[in-house]
Symmetry: C2
Subunit: 335 residues, 2 copies
């Protein structure tokens, strides 16, 4: 199995020591990734974008990997400001305030008129809007409740590309086809697990994430569009490293670390569903069309050979730690 | 506030060192409790019931507290066997196989004809059947899916008192009034929390239990019958101690420890809902009528005085550790 220029369209690389520890795992097997801006403080200026990009490039140590940078959305942005950093960013990420890790500086309420100046400027400058789409409602309903906000945004700004990030519900899947300008990323873990895996047996902190894994019928809906590589969906791992002690404690942080194992597990999953022929589109081609970005000359060769997932990667426990899966990375070819 | 002979109609005291550590907390403020039989191995013989009862009495060290013993249901029981230990037990607890902590020896399938001999013997001997009512379906649906089994049992054995243990859903609440012989216990935690509290923010292992806390409308339905002390519902804490390390780890065990704080929190809750006048029925009178047991001469006086819940009770972390609540135990009176 060969994957050409795989892209991770939703990735948390964090900063400082954690960045140094984990960036290489994405850079090893992906050709690029959309880098989330929810640092503390969030990435909100041209200078911060450029400096963070530099730190990432330093952390990956010469590997062929493009960090596609994003800015943390704020309604106070204006066109002059955005125009000045148009070429430093690939998208802008909008978080409802307080909805997930480091999102306290996000948007309160979704008043279209308040958002209009910056969203119109983004439309004109062709900057996609990536959205963490959850309300502050009941945990199993938050994403479905947000769909009407997606619809409001999609209607009010028809030329704005809106990416529904890490969708987890059938309601979001259904919204995809109702609006030309709605797209979505889907994680690996939401294709593999439901709430049952998180809390149906013992409680599994390493499978705890936001949005939380949902119901079996939601997972089915996600699989349905991912496995046929619906042209409006892309892979985005939402891989989010936390130190082991922060996951295995009272008050466990949200986030699942999948960067080093994503391609192997996706290949296994797509093979199980006789869908290996669509994996290239899901893992790269769709994203390149949606974001209008070029393929990096990098090929990943996978082979059907058992691979035991390590217990941790430098202190960060991956999803399915210690489990043996059927595909391994054989070789990475830089063309 | 004064409570006469409070009863905990669903309690896990465990065994060995844990029993020694925690039995006194129930014995301090309750006058008795239905003791769950899911030890390893489960309590299935007269000798085991008597021996376990003795160990409990030793552990509570002379406090006024009656352990109402139960047997772990097995379809192979017969009338002669049950008749011989009729006076050693108060109820028999049925677990579907593998559904919760130490339930591997439970019932597979619910074939009425297979269960008929023992359930008819229990009807004749007037031994109530306590049931952990969950299927092995999706975690949020397990209890609602089990309601039709409750209905099947209630219809087939109309003289058998069937206690739906630790109910968590509006579906179970609704079933209460459809069958004369269905009763229910309700825990403290299911009156206070929903899945949001467990997994809506950070993941909270000390709020993880089986059945898992459900949706806001389920909690409302439980509150509705508990606060008016519906005559067919009783308090049953399902208090279940686990050592701190077993809760704060990868693969956290299910169970919430509430025994030492249950009366204080129930009083706070009932007061918040202007329902202090029904607490006596919920905490004791209903249970005595349903089980036909006498009140032990023990009164608990509570006072409105801030009480900070300790971080742990001998290594077992209680619900709401470190939180300050409004009611304290003032005095226990042995009449």
């Amino acid at each position: 199995m060969q994957l050409n220029a795989p892209l991770d369209m939703h990735l948390h690389l964090r900063d400082g020591e954690m960045l140094t520890r984990i960036a290489k795992y994405s850079a090893e097997t992906f050709s690029g990734a959309i880098i989330m801006p929810n640092l503390v403080p969030p990435v909100t200026t041209k200078e911060e974008v450029i400096a963070y990009r530099q730190r990432i490039i330093q952390a990956i140590g010469g590997k062929t990997f493009i960090p596609y940078m994003t800015l943390f959305f704020h309604p106070s942005f204006n066109k002059t400001f955005l125009n000045a950093l148009r070429h430093d960013i690939t998208a802008i990420k909008l978080y409802p305030a307080g909805i997930t890790t480091n999102s306290e500086e996000g948007v309160n309420g979704f008043d279209i008129e308040e958002l209009r100046p910056v969203l119109e400027a983004m439309s004109e400058l062709e900057i996609p809007l990536c959205v963490h789409g959850e309300t502050n409602g009941f945990v199993m309903d938050r994403e479905a409740e947000f769909v009407h906000i997606y619809e409001k945004l999609a209607t009010a700004f028809p030329k704005l590309k809106i990416i529904m990030e890490h969708i987890t519900t059938k309601e979001s899947v259904e919204a995809l086809d109702r609006f030309d300008n709605l797209y979505a990323t889907i994680t690996l873990h939401h294709l593999l697990i439901t709430l049952d895996d998180v809390a149906g047996g013992m409680l599994q902190p390493h499978l705890f994430c936001k949005p939380i894994a949902k119901r079996p019928e939601d997972r089915e809906a996600l699989l349905n569009v991912a496995l046929r590589a619906h042209p409006k969906v892309m892979f985005g791992s939402d891989s989010a490293p936390h130190p082991k002690h922060a996951k295995e404690s009272c008050g466990c942080a949200a986030g699942i670390f999948t960067a080093p194992i994503a391609l192997q597990l996706l290949t296994e999953l797509f093979e199980q569903h006789d869908s290996l022929h669509t994996l290239q589109a899901f893992i790269s081609d769709n994203a390149r069309h949606i974001y209008n970005i070029k393929a990096t000359p990098k090929k990943i060769i996978l082979e059907k050979k058992p691979f035991q997932i390590p217990p941790d990667y430098e202190g960060v426990v991956p999803m399915f730690a210690n489990k043996t899966i059927t595909y391994s990375i054989k070789r990475v070819i830089h063309l």
